[in-house]
């Protein structure tokens, strides 16, 4: 009790020093790859989140208080992420940490979040297994893609779509998370009675993908599955096509995929993902358009859905956090959360005490239809229960 009184006094003392605006706000800290080699994947998500927070603040904030999103740039480097997390917790006294960066930045942020008891929310960064049931008490994830479930869906799709017996080749990026997923998919392929033929693990900066593609083609694969950052997925495909390979290619629908399908115009490229494309022209898409226009973002509008969803989740989590906010209250709110994704996903994002991913993951498959000259939906929302 004495300690509590002391803490309160200390907090009150510090509050007197702090500017008033910071005190009135829900302070949330984000460390993400805004510059550096990985920025192409994460910067649009972070910028969209910022635009969404501005949009919410413009409407009067959450529970009558604005959200203050403190953004730090970790350039995809673990040491920077560690320092960022420390600063955000110690100096800005954030009630929630957000990570939008490479998986190598997770470990330092998890370490800091554990030490301080502040929840950690992955937005636009691949969901680690710790968010799946039984979930780690502090880690949450709203990102579209999730290890293992993605490959389960993709391999199922290959099996039901393929006209002949699938001989599957794989393409991974030489980073642990992508390699791990592709190894998992390879095992899954065998279990499902299909034949894995060849697996290529490609180092991230590669001037020419043809040597890798040559091997996939020579292995006589009729399907190639890739679960990696977009660069690796798409360049493997382009190299394969240049070699005259005629098979089907299935890859994860990262934020760039809607524009990329139109650029590539490849009828046998299937992308599967959990976010609705802009071609749906939902009412919420107009909202995204307006918010990003106000924020003066120079990213293609189609890349901003993921960040907008993260914003929706953030808003909902804070809405359930009564004033004055503490990390414990945010945690309580996040442990019992249901976010309406307004059609951007196949269903709501639901978090429970031991599931910090979502209770049901919905996938869609898109491809370019050469006959129609447009991107078409191959398979509509298909749910996989997350257990």
């Amino acid at each position: 009790m004495k300690r509590l009184a002391l803490t309160t006094m200390l907090a009150a003392g510090l509050a007197a020093v702090q500017p008033a605006s910071a005190q009135d706000a829900y302070v949330v800290g984000l460390s993400g790859a805004l510059t550096g080699p990985a920025a192409a994947t994460y910067a649009p998500v972070i910028e969209a989140m910022r635009a969404y927070v501005d949009h919410v603040n413009g409407k009067g904030g959450v529970n009558g208080r604005p959200i203050r999103l403190v953004i730090a740039d970790n350039q995809g480097e673990p040491s920077k992420a560690a320092a960022d997390a420390k600063k955000l917790i110690a100096q800005d006294r954030v009630i929630l940490l957000i990570n939008s960066s490479l998986s190598s930045t997770y470990a330092p942020m998890i370490a800091e979040s554990k030490r301080a008891g502040v929840p950690l929310f992955y937005a636009g960064a691949v969901c680690p297994k710790e968010t799946y049931p039984p979930a780690d008490p502090l880690q949450f994830c709203s990102t579209a893609f999730g290890a293992q479930y993605d490959s389960q869906f993709a391999m199922g799709f290959v099996k039901e779509t393929s006209k002949e017996a699938p001989r599957v080749g794989y393409s991974a990026m030489a980073i642990p998370i992508s390699r791990g997923e592709i190894d998992y998919a390879e095992g899954l392929t065998k279990q499902m009675g299909m034949t894995p033929v060849d697996k290529q693990v490609i180092p991230p900066p590669t001037p020419d993908y043809t040597p890798f593609a040559t091997k996939l083609k020579d292995a006589n694969a009729n399907w190639v599955y890739s679960w990696a950052p977009w660069v690796t997925q798409v360049r493997t495909l382009e190299a394969l096509r240049r070699l005259g390979w005629k098979g089907s290619y299935i890859a994860y629908a990262h934020i760039q995929s809607e524009d990329e399908l139109q650029r590539l115009k490849d009828g046998d490229l299937y992308v599967f993902g959990t976010n609705a494309f802009f071609q749906d022209t939902l009412p919420v898409h107009a909202e995204i358009r307006a918010a990003t226009h106000r924020a003066n973002l120079n990213y293609p509008i189609t890349q901003l859905t993921e960040g907008f969803i993260a914003g929706l989740v953030l808003e909902a989590a804070l809405k359930g956090t009564p004033w004055p906010p503490t990390p414990q209250k945010v945690l309580a709110s996040m442990n019992n959360l249901k976010v309406d994704t307004k059609g951007l996903r196949g269903g709501p994002i639901e978090w429970t005490k031991d599931n910090h991913f979502r209770t049901r993951q919905y996938y869609r498959v898109y491809r370019w239809d050469p006959a129609k000259g447009a991107v078409v939906r191959v398979k509509d929302w298909t749910g996989i229960d997350v257990k």
Partner: protein
């Protein structure tokens, strides 16, 4: 430059004493006292910066011994840090070893790698040596990433804070004293090595290898010794990093980290332990200083998304300007300031027209 008037060294023992005069002893004591008081006044964020600086200074002093004194260029420093950190990570994960096993183990691994890194130096010099150490860096990084992937630590290895009995070193303030002690021990060790036979041998090798050989110095033995000492210290710094940050992953030890250490040595000023410390402080704190500065400038809301790119570019720009206008490094500035105070008020003005 005399540091005190009417004071002459009358024996070799006095000549190589680390603390020479009473004033020096007093200012050193004051400095240490100030450092000891710092954690009780600083904010947690400032404390973290200080800890980062101590960690960096161990590596920078180690590299200074190798590059600044023995004249052997190395671009493999990140590999040695990684080796130390991975020794900790692997031992903790595989056999749950306590820190008094892992840190000496890291030192041993570092010393062994030092021999490996040093072998090319017997044949190669300059740029070619730098590149061979770079190649070895890639080898270490490759092994580390294979371990991470094969054992399923795809997002890095989490290392719990070290503990002695029931006491766990997790508070930043405790860490401050641990790292301060480690950095101070490194500096004392380096100064002692430098004022002994080894230091003189290294300087002779740096200045002229052939002459050093002619003077009876075993060039290859001392070169290897420089690599071994430097690598051992660096690996220990890597091990401390693993415990302090609580994680190990290959991506934390990128090639850029090696370059940062080289930058510390050069920006600080070659051939000076003080330079290594100043360089470590500069390279560690500088990005935060820029961030704070740019944050302090009023930014129109519309351009908020450009701030990070400006930050990034500013770091490069200031480094370029620094190299252009202060080639002697921070130690050069330090010496000028010190000399100004030593000579004051009898400052000599240059004759007019000689500028």
């Amino acid at each position: 430059m005399p540091f005190a008037s009417g004071y002459f060294r009358t024996s070799y023992a006095r000549d190589i004493r680390l603390v020479d005069t009473r004033v020096q002893a007093a200012s050193l004591a004051a400095f240490v006292a100030a450092l000891a008081a710092f954690p009780f006044l600083a904010s947690p964020f400032q404390l973290d910066l200080a800890n980062q600086f101590f960690l960096a200074s161990i590596g920078a002093v180690a590299l200074m011994l190798l590059t600044g004194y023995a004249g052997q260029v190395s671009l493999g420093h990140a590999g040695l840090l990684a080796a130390g950190a991975f020794t900790v990570g692997i031992l903790v994960k595989e056999v749950d070893a306590p820190f008094w096993v892992t840190i000496p183990a890291a030192a041993v691994v570092g010393a062994l790698l030092g021999v490996v890194f040093g072998l090319p130096s017997l044949r190669l010099r300059g740029l070619y040596l730098a590149v061979s150490t770079l190649a070895l860096y890639f080898a270490v990084a490759y092994i580390g990433s294979e371990y991470e992937t094969k054992r399923g630590f795809s997002t890095g290895i989490i290392v719990d804070p070290p503990s002695i009995g029931a006491f766990t070193v997790s508070d930043s303030r405790v860490w401050y004293f641990v790292l301060f002690g480690a950095a101070a021990a490194t500096v004392v060790l380096a100064l002692n090595l430098l004022r002994a036979r080894s230091g003189r041998a290294w300087r002779a090798i740096r200045d002229h290898e052939t002459v050093a050989e002619a003077l009876g110095i075993s060039v290859s033995a001392y070169k290897l010794a420089a690599f071994v000492v430097s690598s051992m210290l660096t690996a220990v710094a890597g091990a401390l990093f693993a415990y302090y940050r609580g994680f190990v992953s290959v991506e934390a030890f990128s090639l850029f980290l090696s370059i940062q250490y080289v930058a510390m040595v050069i920006i600080g000023g070659m051939g000076s332990i003080l330079g290594a410390l100043l360089g470590a402080a500069f390279v560690t704190l500088f990005p935060y200083a820029i961030e704070a500065l740019i944050e302090a400038l009023p930014t129109p809301e519309r351009y908020a998304n450009l701030v990070f790119a400006v930050n990034y570019a500013a770091f490069g720009l200031v480094m370029v300007l620094f190299l252009l206008f202060e080639p002697e490094g921070l130690v050069g500035i330090w010496r000028r300031v010190r000399d100004w105070f030593l000579l004051w008020p009898f400052r000599q003005r240059p004759l007019s027209g000689t500028k």
